[in-house]
Amino acid sequence: MIPFIHSTLDRRKFLCGASGCVALPTLDIFAEDRSSDTQTSESPDRPKNFVAIGTYLGWHQKAFYPSQTGTDYEMPATLKPISEYRGDFTVFSGLDHRAGNGHNNWSNFLCGSQPGTYSFDQLLADHIGQHSRFASLQLTTGSGENRTGKGAMNFSKENIYLPMMRRPSVLYRQMFITNEDRIRTEYLLKSGRSSLDHVVKEAKRLNASLPVNDREKLDEYFHSVRSLESRMARQLTTLDAPVTDPGYQLPENDPITPNLQMEASVIMYDLIAIALDCGLTRVATLFLDGLGQVFTIDGRALSSGYHGLSHHGNDPAMIADLILLDTAHVECFAHFLQTLKQKKGANGKSLLDETIVLLGTGMGDASRHSNRDLPTLVAGGGFQHRGHVATANRPDTLLGDLYITIAQSLGLEIDAFSNAKRNMNEVIS
């Protein structure tokens, strides 16, 4: 028996939480031609890149949004560290994906209205990342452990989350492989690739004896094998185009404890800039996790841990500390913008001009777990930047509209993303 039953009732809630299962792809997806890179070789410009940065616990909206709209605005507290780049970015207020609320829906940041589904970065990577060493890079700082499942940020076309790298040293090793390793790697890739058919055959044999529901599970397996195969193929082609190790000085130990998040962020930003500059990838994301870590800023330990501060309950002292923390994140981001701006290509353009940087979050107001009104900032990318764009007066505008504009600017021929069906080119281009 259940100890107590109360017959409070709401018919609307009947069946809530019962979600359908995710459809997984069939094998013929692998036959699809993915070489849809639309860049032409005549252009002297390097192809554009995309970088997205998201904070798990949001940005305190009032300190992120300027009070005025347009280009002539007073720099809000959180964005002060990037004041000198004000011509290089646009702040958007009032945008979101109309996704569900709460931490569990955080991944709406890049997934749109359906958290945990094909994320924007992976959509881009599937189109523009297929010719680089890494189709995309997924990085994180400040996390106690690798975020998985719903807590993740990047989801493949099949709605499978992608793990994030949190050790700069591991990333660096993968970016710059040594000459001695090359011959061996090539042999391993070639022999490994040729024998993958065998495990697929074995799995198919198994599959035949399984109930229908279980086959979805083995479809994941098939898909993983095929991805491994295409990854191997890509590695084989990039092996012939070695990249010189720039000799970046990593610290002796990886700053992976949550308290060293700012230190780790700076290094990750540097490595993203190097990866883009060397053409190792065109799509990178950085997840700024938030745990209970108590930061010390300007010699003072903040009044609560990161998560505690995000639940400020309108307490002014806690809000002040939260803004300090948000500002510290933006200081790291300022370093990133500076790095991108300093790196110039042969055409004289800065890497910032060739990279669309999206700074945002999947949580609008962590204090009340609201995923409405997600603070969003777009920098670089050769856009004509517009200062502060407030969309509050146009309530049907979706964050996805902006993503469509970004995708189109990267050469994708799409006119829909998640629940969004139009672009925002009239606002920013």
Partner: protein, 877 residues
């Protein structure tokens, strides 16, 4: 898992009690008679009371109950009808402002639905279960006999489903998982089937005395020779070794040493130079036996002689030299005292000089021995020796100074190390000493295996059950596969599969690749094969082998051991008695048992304790967190070992803690023993401490380290103690911002949001369960008033069933009265953990009857586990 639940009010569906029935079933049988027509009795009830809102034309909440038939093969429809049954049984539908069916009508509908669900929903339905990270690592280690193997950094983790990280549903396979599996497979294949060593050209490396290491006073360079003095086993006191040389490849080297003897006395000859191989990276604190012996060379010539020998040096090794038959030995205290006693007796000036050095102004003013170490000490002693006015007055063998000097020499620190190092310099200057002039190392002439190479060759042999020897490549591979595949796949493997794998290697060899390359490729393939990476691949009742695996992973997170495999082969494991005997064998007896660690860590969320970081004001750091976690694990282990009744989870007469922790957290002052020693103590039943709801760890995991969060605790108690899940808020409910300014106590803050009507109907169920625990602060310490106020905590609440509850003690009593509810929750969680699936209608029914039977017989927790393992739920895929 601090983010598992939100700190601000969790919005919960008003029908959260429904969630008991919300667990989605997997196992829907392929019944022949589908779809089933709804008979007129139930059909009429549905039409009369439900179809106003739930019809084709008016699908409230997307639900249409105005149908003629039900397809019991459709999972979603089945789940829906299970909820209809639940709502009907508990009068949750129709809404109160609508016409209600009579009790008889409700009975008719319930009876029909129950019979249909019972007929159509069958036990079982675990999806293929990928090994999770911990299982994968343990499986690899067992399978490959590599017990210290570690996964590479960046190895992807697992997501959880149904509250555990070993659920088939949550264990998705992603491209990065596959890439990591391939990487690991390649890594271990490298160890087992290494590439041929690239032969490096033989090189000659010569070294003189300046190329040898001087360590402490183990050696000194005099007259262009390096002299040795001690045969101590501490290498830093006796040995020297080349500074620059390091074998690049394991192989045979030709080693030439030039040496001589310096001022040998009678009987000193020959002097033996012992040569061992040391890892260049070896610690200076090594002892001589840590190094591999290579050769003894005897020297008798005073002018110098070269001796040459051949020996194997492994990659990363160099030579180490020691005078093996030296007179002096730092490590032999007795021999040192004997040597010095005789020496003092023979030479009183020698004695007086040592006395002068150690006691320059008599016994009372002893020189700190430290300052007499090594060359410093020797300089002081030799100055005294050369002093014509040396005080000889105490230089008798029976003087107090002599006795004290010998006593000091018989101690490790003062005597043999400090003064011993000084004594070495006597030998360096005066002999006898063994002298090194230089060395030459030439090679490698022939490559050989290092110890590590040998270790992995041995493992490869163990895996294949044979050495390669004269076997053909194919015969060897077949041997290996016949032995290894059943172990890797945890069950017998048919010939087709074996042949298919064999063809991978034979094809590779046919293309001209080497034996090792073929085996390497084979191993890489086996270790990414679905049969290795997944379990639960065969539908229906588990056979002996699958049952062995399920049992083994449940208890050990690893593959079946030999005993389980033997029983499985003999077909014995499916006999319930044997199955339970094996379960008893694998049952936890200590808190580091994988079941204790992983099940409690996830059921009770104690895995996340380390990431909580309590506010410094609680003075609750790493040490306290370890104790808090250990308390839960020891308690849980004891519940099993002692086969305690399940109510003891709530209100036991014992607890585990340390004297320090008991006093700090629980105000228990009379515990004896070492302050950090975890021990079991007896407590009166009905205490506020003890049991799950009285433990620091539980109070921590339900708070955020800074404040308590009654809502979070309430949700936690509902989910983990009562077994009710709290659904996510629906998308169309906007987030509310409770304005909590102006409230001064958590109770008032809570009132502020329970005043919001949209929240109140749920929070009146959740909040009491959390609020009654408000006396526990965020680390589980008892408190009477809220922090920063002098306002007393009033934790009294009324539960939705009308029970008035004053405090946690009352809550415990209430839970003990409802023991079956708790037991069912725990039993279901154990089965979710064990089977890796959500439980369906049939399975929950089976568990319910097991729990009730257990309860009725007053049986304990261990008996419950044994009964669960014997259940169809556990024994079906």
């Amino acid at each position: 898992m601090i983010f598992k639940r939100n700190a601000t009010p969790v919005k919960i569906s008003l029908l959260f009690f429904l969630s008991l029935a919300c667990t989605l079933p997997h196992g829907v049988a392929n019944a022949d008679s589908n779809p089933v027509l709804i008979p007129e009795g139930p059909r009429k009830i549905l039409r009369d009371y439900c179809s106003d809102c739930h019809s084709q034309s008016n699908q409230e909440a997307d639900i249409n109950l105005d149908v003629e038939e039900i397809s019991w093969t459709d999972r979603e429809r089945t789940e829906l009808w299970e909820k209809v049954l639940f709502n009907n049984q508990h009068g949750l539908m129709p809404p109160q402002d609508h016409d209600q069916p009579s009790p008889e009508e409700r009975k008719v509908l319930s009876a029909w639905l129950d019979s249909q669900l019972t007929t159509h929903i069958k036990v079982g339905g675990t999806p293929p279960r990928r090994l999770n990270q911990a299982e994968y690592l343990k499986t690899l280690r067992e399978l490959l006999y590599m017990h210290d193997y570690e996964l590479p950094p960046g190895f992807p983790g697992d997501s959880e489903a149904n509250g555990f990280d070993n659920s088939g549903e949550g264990l998705v396979m992603s491209a990065s998982h596959m890439a990591s599996y391939a990487q690991v497979a390649s890594e271990v294949a490298d160890l087992l089937y290494p590439q041929p060593k690239q032969s490096v050209p033989s090189k000659i490396q010569k070294g003189g005395v300046d190329d040898l290491v001087l360590s402490f006073s183990a050696s000194a360079v005099k007259d262009g020779k390096l002299r040795l003095a001690s045969k101590a086993r501490d290498i830093m006191r006796s040995c020297t070794w080349p500074q620059q040389h390091q074998a690049k490849m394991s192989g045979v080297y030709r080693i030439t040493v030039e040496g001589s003897v310096f001022k040998p006395r009678d009987g000193d000859l020959p002097m033996t130079l012992e040569i061992r191989a040391r890892q260049v990276s070896a610690s200076e604190r090594s002892v001589i036996s840590n190094f591999r012996f290579l050769k003894d060379l005897d020297f008798s010539s005073q002018s110098g002689q070269s001796q040459t020998f051949e020996a194997e040096l492994y990659e990363g090794e160099t030579l180490s030299f020691r005078w093996k038959n030296a007179e002096f030995d730092h490590n032999d205290l007795k021999a040192t005292v004997k040597l010095m006693t005789e020496w003092f007796n023979e030479d009183r000036r020698w004695l007086a000089a040592w006395q002068q050095a150690v006691f320059p102004r008599g016994l009372k003013k002893r020189t700190p021995i430290q300052t007499l170490r090594g060359l410093n000490g020797w300089n002081v002693i030799s100055e005294a020796l050369n002093d014509p006015n040396l005080d000889m007055s105490e230089a008798t063998m029976d003087s107090a100074e002599t006795k004290e000097l010998l006593r000091i020499l018989s101690t490790v620190g003062g005597g043999t190390h400090n003064l011993g190092d000084a004594l070495c310099h006597y030998y360096f200057n005066n002999g006898p000493s063994l002298q090194l002039h230089g060395y030459t190392i030439e090679g490698p002439f022939r490559l050989v295996d290092s110890d590590i190479d040998k270790k992995y060759k041995q493992i490869a042999k163990q895996i294949a059950g044979t050495e390669k020897g004269e076997l053909s490549n194919e015969a060897y591979a077949r041997n290996m596969l016949e032995r290894f595949l059943p172990r890797a796949f945890r069950r017998p493997v048919d010939d087709t599969t074996t042949e298919a794998f064999l063809s991978i290697a034979t094809e590779h060899w046919r293309q001209g690749h080497s034996f090792n390359e073929g085996m390497h490729l084979l191993m890489r393939n086996i270790l990414i094969s679905p049969q290795f990476l997944y379990r639960s691949l065969r539908p229906g009742k588990l056979d002996d082998h699958d049952l062995a695996a399920r049992l083994s992973y449940f208890f050990t997170q690893g593959p079946p051991d030999r005993q389980l495999n033997d029983l499985a082969h003999a077909g014995k494991l499916t006999e319930t008695e044997e199955l339970q005997r094996q379960a008893m064998r694998l049952m936890p007896t200590s808190r580091d048992h994988p079941l204790v660690q992983n099940f409690t860590g996830q059921w009770l969320d104690t895995r996340g304790l380390r990431s909580i970081m309590p506010d410094p004001e609680f003075k609750f750091g790493e040490r306290e967190i370890s104790v808090a976690k250990a308390e839960v694990e020891l308690f849980f282990t004891d519940m099993i070992k002692g086969n305690r009744p399940l109510r003891d989870f709530v209100d036991p007469d014992f607890m585990w803690t340390t004297p320090y922790f008991a006093e700090k957290i629980y105000q228990i002052k009379n515990m004896k023993g070492r302050r950090d020693k975890l021990q079991r103590i007896t407590i009166p039943r009905g205490s506020r401490h003890g049991g799950l709801l009285g433990m620091s760890a539980i109070m921590m995991t339900t708070a955020n380290g800074v404040d308590t969060q009654p809502v979070l605790r309430g949700v936690w108690v509902m989910e983990n103690i009562l077994g009710m899940t709290t659904p996510e808020p629906p998308d169309d409910v906007p987030a509310l911002t409770p304005d909590i300014r102006g409230t001064t106590t958590p109770r008032e803050m809570l009132m502020a949001h329970t005043n919001e009507t949209a929240c109140a109907s749920c929070h009146q169920h959740i909040d009491p369960l959390g609020f009654v625990l408000e006396n526990f602060d965020p680390v589980g310490q008892w408190r009477e008033s809220w922090p920063g106020t002098d306002r007393k905590i009033n934790a009294s609440v009324v539960l939705p069933d009308g029970s008035p509850i004053n405090d946690v003690i009352d809550l415990k009593k209430w839970l003990v009265r409802n023991e079956v509810v708790f037991s069912k929750n725990l039993a279901e969680k154990l089965m979710v953990y064990g089977t890796g699936r959500k439980l369906n209608y049939a399975e929950r029914k089976e568990i319910d009857s097991i729990v009730r039977h257990n309860h009725a017989n007053d049986a304990g927790f261990r008996e419950l586990i044994l009964a669960l393992i014997a259940s169809d739920t556990f024994r079906t895929k």
